[in-house]
């Protein structure tokens, strides 16, 4: 087994992951505080990579700091900002720091972020990045040269179970699995139907499914996501529920908690996106019976 997360999922035990954005700046103190507070609550922490194309510290540093703390990171790596040399060398650096879980992403387009004038790279796509990880795991780089010191990554990929047409989405997911993805972390979900369809389609590929749950902090945030975040739809009744709520954050937390319970039977793990409110994660997970 390459990582505790891998072990957990391979043993068919339920996994819980959460994501924390690294700081804009070099001070990882607050990031680590949040991560430490989740020790024992989640199994691994996703460290996002210039999320939404907004420049932040490279996820490698906070991921390495997590390893030092004995907290398991999932390093997110996008193809937007690095060519194939930079991606491979970043991966080798991650391996040297003891980072094993990697989530291979294409990356949001550069104009969405705070450096809209930058040159988008996309030398590789997520499938090709997964192939690169598999190649490194086999002791070679993309040029075929043997490595001195071979990493043992547990590669994962993102998936949008609600994106239509599903047949097209699935064609890409199949390629990701064939390229070496062993787990999928999904876009935020709001009902089990699409997750069930998704699970049925991808389980035969030998891939574990970690379902995404997002903490919606207000009705405004729900509307913003519906308008701006592709592949994600907050159902009208949830928007209404948040609209009527005297304390929207509490209601949002309750909704997330409900979603964890509804999605639980149809996945191998849950991934919480708490959007800066990581202190609410234990409450969101309160009803989760892991069954082990």
């Amino acid at each position: 087994m390459t990582s505790p997360l891998h072990e957990l999922l391979a043993a068919d035990r339920f996994a819980v992951t959460a994501e924390i954005s690294p700081p804009k700046g070099s001070d990882c103190g607050e990031f680590l505080e949040k991560a430490r507070a989740l020790r024992g609550t989640v199994d691994a922490i996703n460290v996002t990579d210039n999320q939404g194309a907004n420049m932040r510290i490279s996820p490698l540093a906070p991921a390495a700091l997590l390893v030092r703390e004995g907290i398991e990171p999932i390093l997110q790596l996008t193809c937007r900002d690095r060519n194939r040399l930079a991606l491979q060398s970043e991966l080798l650096a991650a391996a040297a720091f003891g980072v094993t879980n990697v989530l291979a992403l294409t990356g949001d387009y550069i104009t969405f972020g705070d450096h809209a004038a930058a040159k988008p790279v996309f030398d590789l796509d997520a499938v090709q990045l997964l192939q690169a990880i598999t190649t490194l795991n086999a002791g070679r780089d993309l040029a075929g040269t043997a490595l001195h010191g071979v990493p043992r990554f547990y590669p994962g990929a993102a998936a949008a179970p609600e994106a239509e047409p599903f047949e097209l989405t699935l064609a890409k997911l199949r390629k990701k699995a064939a390229a070496g993805a062993r787990f999928f972390q999904t876009q935020a979900l709001f009902s089990p139907e699409k997750l069930i369809r998704f699970g049925e389609a991808v389980r035969p590929l030998g891939v574990k499914v970690i379902a995404g749950v997002i903490l919606i902090k207000s009705a405004g945030m729900a509307r913003y996501m519906n308008a701006r975040i592709p592949g994600l739809t907050v159902p009208q009744e949830l928007v209404a529920e948040l609209d009527d709520a005297p304390r929207p954050l509490e209601t949002g937390t309750a909704i997330a908690r409900r979603l964890v319970a509804t999605l639980r039977p149809h996945c191998d793990g849950i991934h919480i996106m708490a959007m800066g409110k990581e202190e609410l994660i234990p409450e969101i997970l309160a009803d989760l019976h892991r069954g082990d």
Partner: protein, 215 residues
């Protein structure tokens, strides 16, 4: 054709700060079609420059400004008019501007921004369909170019931003991979290939490109 558009006039004027006498050069091919450097635009540029207090020693529209020998010949033919000017203002794509700068000892001023290799949808409407990637993939993608039609240029299917067949970058546009998926399905009756397309070979695209035909 090469699609170009005029720089803001203020920017052109700013590059003429210490220059009072200019000669104008347009191009009869692409720049004429996209109305950035044909007879009409050269004429208007001349009027605007005169209004701004500049002296225009003359003008010409070269048959194709990217043809280096022809540019040299045409510049020579204009003799006096060209030598009387301190600078040559060129209303053509960047290739044309450089034929002129290589073929004359006068300062050369580019009046256009060169945008892309474009298809003409209808008069006055241009669309980029090919980004000259040096390794054409159209035979595998139902004749739709993902290198160009997808803002990320990704080669193995839609990114996570595709939603209802629309593109995350411009939600009014169809995702390139949705277009390919639909055309393969409807025209060829087959699904997307399950084979992974390997990373592109950018060594085929080392700049500056050159090609010499065998005799």
């Amino acid at each position: 054709m090469i699609v170009s558009k005029q720089k803001p006039f203020s920017e052109i004027l700013a590059s003429l700060e210490n220059i009072s006498r200019v000669f104008l050069i347009g191009c009869a091919k692409c720049a004429t079609v996209c109305k950035s450097g044909g007879e009409e635009q050269v004429w208007r540029m001349q009027e605007d420059l005169i209004a701004a207090g500049k002296e225009v020693t003359g003008s010409m529209v070269i048959d194709e400004a990217c043809h280096m020998l022809r540019v040299q010949r045409d510049l020579r033919a204009k003799g006096e008019m060209v030598t009387a000017a301190e600078a040559l203002i060129v209303l053509s794509c960047g290739a044309g501007v450089q034929s002129v700068s290589a073929g004359s000892d006068r300062a050369t001023i580019a009046a256009l921004d060169t945008l892309f290799l474009g298809n003409i949808r209808r008069f006055g409407q241009f669309e980029q369909r090919c980004s000259l990637c040096g390794e054409c993939r159209l035979n595998e993608t139902a004749g739709i170019c993902p290198v160009t039609a997808c803002p990320k240029g990704i080669l193995n299917g839609p990114c996570g931003g595709m939603s209802e067949g629309k593109c995350e970058v411009s939600p009014d546009a169809e995702c390139a991979w949705y277009q390919i998926f639909v055309r393969l399905r409807d025209r060829d009756g087959r699904p997307l290939s399950p084979e992974t397309t390997p990373p592109k070979d950018f060594s085929k695209l080392v700049k500056p490109g050159s090609l010499t035909l065998e005799r």
